[in-house]
Symmetry: C2
Subunit: 167 residues, 2 copies
DNA sequence: CGGTTTGTTCAAACAAATTTGAACAATAAT
DNA sequence: ATTATTGTTCAAATTTGTTTGAACAAACCG
């Protein structure tokens, strides 16, 4: 049976909706699922902490999505749990400092890739030594060296980046 | 009818394969399709420029994929056309300077998002003025201001980033 | 010309990522 | 103890993104 809704409960109002969309776009840039953007976005404009059911109701997405989304956002240090003595539920607050958000993203999403790239490049360099033709070997070595230079430059840049986002 | 293959033609050898995989991973980090990584990766370890059919044969992917992939890579300035007087086909060479690659990616994939975000944040700021409750209005304005600060910081960072990748 | 080569386009097929929802565990309330 | 509440898990369903391949256009060749 459909029930009446007041203007603030079940349907996102226009501003909330626009804000959430901006974050969905932001998530897309970062290669994160839309639900992550929705959840963080709603939290970002909420004047009070929110619990799982609030996201389900106001975003109209499943409990499962919200649970997984919050887990990922916790991993990214983009949300924090807030304890509330009076309530069994876990409430969440957004982290809103760009530096911290960038730090979490770099740690969780960027560094692991670079770490695995390091290994794979080393493997490749070894294999390249076994090549017979000196011409080919030289060329390949130069290319592998090039990628590794990229990797090093970029890795060194990450902390600088985070620092520059500090203010 | 299956035909015999020599060891350099149809099947990627082990090193080529490993190198291509590294680039497929790289593409994933950047949110680009695997085929883009394959194409650029193969080109990166090729001592000579390659034409469309070379990619089709050596990567075993369709002509359509290669055509679209090369178009995107051209847009990103990650590959360059090389003219060859003796041949009708268009050959490609990779751009291998990190600075240039980063520049292309920023221009094509990052800036457009920021540009559209700018508009959407402005719209949002206008809408926020129409809110009646002064408390809510104040809070929302602060949040919108916060996002816009993020946007400005990040936008200002892009050229610096590119510069720092210069060596 | 008519045939061949080269490359593009785009709807359909396919693959991968995301979301759902029902089953479940854990804890609290009665 | 029994029921209600809160949150998790994960296989299946759905959605989204990627690749394919056949049809086509353009340029060249004999």
């Amino acid at each position: 049976m459909p029930r009446l809704q007041n203007s603030n409960s079940n349907k996102l109002d226009s501003i909330e909706h626009q804000m959430v969309n901006i974050f969905v776009d932001g998530a897309r840039i970062l290669g994160l699922p839309p639900s992550i953007g929705e959840i963080y976005g709603l939290l970002f404009i909420s004047p009070t902490p929110l619990a799982l059911d609030d996201f389900v109701e106001r975003l109209g997405i499943s409990k499962g999505s919200v649970s997984q989304g919050l887990r990922m956002l916790k991993g990214l240090r983009a949300v924090r749990e807030v304890e509330s003595a009076s309530d069994r539920r876990t409430y969440y607050e957004p982290a809103i400092e760009l530096k911290r958000l960038a730090g979490g993203f770099i740690r969780e999403q960027v560094r692991p890739h670079f770490k695995s790239a390091e290994t794979r490049i080393r493997d490749l360099a070894e294999k390249a030594q076994e090549i017979d033709d000196p011409e080919s070997r030289k060329f390949l070595r130069a290319r592998i060296e090039r990628i590794d230079t990229w990797r090093r430059s970029t890795t060194k840049l990450l902390p600088i980046l985070q620092k520059l986002l500090g203010q």
